[in-house]
Structures are given as C-alpha cells and as structure tokens.
C-alpha cells in the first residue's frame, strides 16, 4: 500500500469532518483509525478547529503533512457519510482506493437540502421558537419573516463581508429592524417575542456542543477556541439587539 494514498485518504477524511462542523476528537480518531487499518506504524494525529496534522511511519520512513481548513460550514450529513466510509474501511469491506474515491465524491457533494428549504426551515424554527417563548398566534408570522430576513442577510452578506462576526452582527441588526418595522405598522404585536424568535437562526448550537465534547475528550485548545467562537457570536447578536432596543426606548 503506498503511503501517499494513505496520507491523502486520511487527510481528506479529516478535512471533510473538520470543514463541515465535526468535533476535533472525531477528526483525529478517524484519521488515526484509517492509517492504522492501512498498516502504518506510530500514527499520530492532531487537529485544531483550523488545521490538521498527521504523521506516521511506513517502512522506516516518516511521513508528516498538515492541511488548513480556513472555511467552515455545517453539514452533518457529510460527517455521517465519512464516518460510514471509515467504518467500512476499518472493517475491511472496501479497499483504500475505493475509500479515497468515495471520499472525493463526498467532498464534492452539494448540501442535502436546497437553499430555499434551509431558509424556510430557519423561518419555521424562528416562528415556533417565538411561540415557545410565550408569543401569541399573531406573533408567529412576523417572527418567521424576521428569521427569514436574518438567514437571507447572513447568506448574502457573507459573500462580500469577509468577517464572520460582522456578518452576524449586521444580520441580527437587519432582523431586529424588520421586527421594529412590524411593530411600528401593527402596534398590537410584541417586539420582544419577535426579536427572541428572529435571533434563533444565529444561535451557535453546534459550536457549543462541539466545544463541550472536545473539552470532555481532553482537547483543551480546540474546546476553548470553539467556546470563544460561540461567545463572540453571542456577543455580536447581543450588541445588535441592544442597538435595536435602544431605538424602541
């Protein structure tokens, strides 16, 4: 088995997991398992939320490579698929070439659900969360529309504002402005309920969950950095909300 192909397969698997919102310990474990199953000795892998390092020994020669993953999104489907591939390779039911080809296909895959469906989902999440927070049926539609505003502006601002936190701040501001507009036109709506619902699509759920799991697995650096990322998102949303509230005073 050529060590280059082993290295490529491991790094591709790790990069897909890390790029699509997987935990750091899952990245490290998947890479180490594939390399060990391919017969490499002395396997060591290390990942932080932005980079992966893998090193192993093959026939007396050491191999080490590092890749960076600057852009991160959330696509849990790809993580499930990579998990499946690595499990089958370690179990011995597919060869390394097959695994590499499948991983390439997974990497090229588009998101499972089309864009409009994700925006609709964000709207539904916002609307139903606003009701859970104590709203009336009349607040459901404005909250859903405000949530839609937030996700749409998140997507379009991302393309020309390169800073993640500023994108989130502006999206929260736009969603809040929509809520303000709705309340100005229909004064019987509750602005607090609408804002609470509208900010839900920005809740850093995956960052918090992954940060905790990384901390539990002993990856302190990865856990803390993900936690700080989640906190920055929360702060940018909070500041935007404060500005909107300052208008309503």
């Amino acid at each position: 088995m050529s060590s280059d192909l082993v290295m490529d397969t491991c790094l591709l698997a790790g990069a897909i997991i890390l790029k699509n919102g997987g935990e750091t310990y899952r990245t490290e474990e998947t890479m180490a398992r594939i390399a060990q199953a391919a017969g490499m000795d002395d396997v060591n892998s290390s990942a932080t939320p932005t980079s992966i390092i893998l090193s192993f020994r093959c026939k007396g020669l050491d191999h080490t490579r590092m890749v960076r993953t600057p852009v991160r999104t959330t696509n849990l489907n790809k993580i499930t698929l990579v998990n499946d591939v690595s499990r089958r390779f370690v179990g011995g039911s597919i060869t390394l070439e097959q695994a590499y080809r499948t991983l390439c296909e997974i990497d090229q895959k588009k998101p499972l659900y089309p864009k409009w469906m994700q925006h609709m989902a964000a709207a539904i999440a916002s609307g139903s969360f606003s009701m859970l927070a104590g709203g009336t049926w009349y607040d459901l539609l404005p909250a859903a529309l405000a949530g839609l505003t937030v996700t749409l502006s998140l997507e379009y601002l991302e393309q020309f504002v390169r800073m993640k936190f500023f994108t989130e701040f502006s999206a929260a501001l736009l969603g809040g402005l929509f809520a303000l507009l709705a309340v100005t036109v229909f004064p019987e709506l509750h602005i607090s309920i609408i804002i609470i619902g509208a900010m839900l699509p920005m809740f850093p759920g995956i960052a918090i969950t992954n940060s905790l799991r990384d901390l539990m697995a002993g990856d302190l650096v990865a856990g803390v950095s993900r936690g700080v990322e989640a906190m920055l998102t929360a702060v940018s949303v909070a500041v935007a909300t404060a500005i909107i509230l300052w208008f309503t005073r």
Partner: protein, 150 residues
C-alpha cells in the same frame, strides 16, 4: 397548552435539523429529541423543580437519548443533540437582560445575565452528563470484554 408546546418544539427541532443538513432518516429522530427535552422541561416545574434543575435534567435526557439513537441509527450523536437542546435555549432571559441594560437598570441586567449564563451552563453540564454516562458504560463494557479475554 402542553400539546401546542410539544408540536412547536417538534417543528422547531426538525427545522433546526434541516438547517444543519442532517441525513433525511434522522430528521424526525432529532425532532423527537427536542420534543422529549421540552416535555421534561415543562413537566419538572410541576414537581417544584426550579429552572436550573429542570434545564439540567432535560439537557441530560436529550443527550442520553441522542446517544442511544446514535447507536440504533448508526450516525454521530451530534445529529440529534444539536437540535434537541434548541427548545431549552434561554432566549427570553437573554433578551430581558439586554433590555434591562439598555434601560440603565444595571443591577437587574447583571442579575438576568448571570441567570442566563447559569442556564446555559446547566444545558452544557446536562450534555456533558449524558456523554460521560455513555462513556462510562462503554468503558465498563470494554473492560469486561478485556477481562473475559485474559
């Protein structure tokens, strides 16, 4: 009233599953995790549990449930737990604390912000509790197998 909450938490968790691109066959399971979490969260106050305790218990149950479902459906458990904690998010508390700060009521603001942080910590520790219970069970089983082999 409770039925309405259950339907809404199911809808919101399932929508959250779609937002995170989970596989199609696990969407409903994620919604069920959120619904069970909300059910526990809204039933515990009837037994005189305060908000921190009920948040902790329901987050722990969501976490345990998602680990169990991840074993049955053979997918990573993040697929379920991320959507499951959505109905527990202290959104209104965070909003009220922001409102108090804007209205120059710093004491109420800090009180509410601390409370929000405590609830967030309760969600976090509930998740950790679930994960560690499963890890301990797994570790015990591995140790048992190792003892049999030797």
């Amino acid at each position: 009233m409770l039925l309405k909450g259950l339907a809404l938490s199911l809808a919101s968790s399932m929508a959250w599953c779609i937002l995170f691109n989970v596989p199609v066959r696990t969407i409903f399971a994620g919604g069920v995790a959120g619904m069970v979490g909300f059910l526990v969260y809204s039933l515990l106050p009837l037994l005189n549990a305060e908000v921190l305790l009920s948040t902790f218990v329901s987050a722990a149950i969501v976490s345990l449930l998602s680990q169990v479902m991840s074993i049955y459906l053979r997918v990573p458990s993040t697929n379920f737990s991320v959507a499951g904690i959505i109905p527990l998010v202290p959104g209104s508390m965070a909003y009220k604390s922001m409102l108090a700060f804007v209205n120059d009521d710093y004491v109420a603001g800090i009180t509410l912000a601390t409370k929000t942080l405590m609830v967030a910590g309760a969600i976090a520790s509930g998740l950790i509790f679930g994960i560690s219970v499963v890890t301990i069970v797994k570790g015990a089983r591995h140790a048992g197998k190792r003892a049999q082999r030797n």
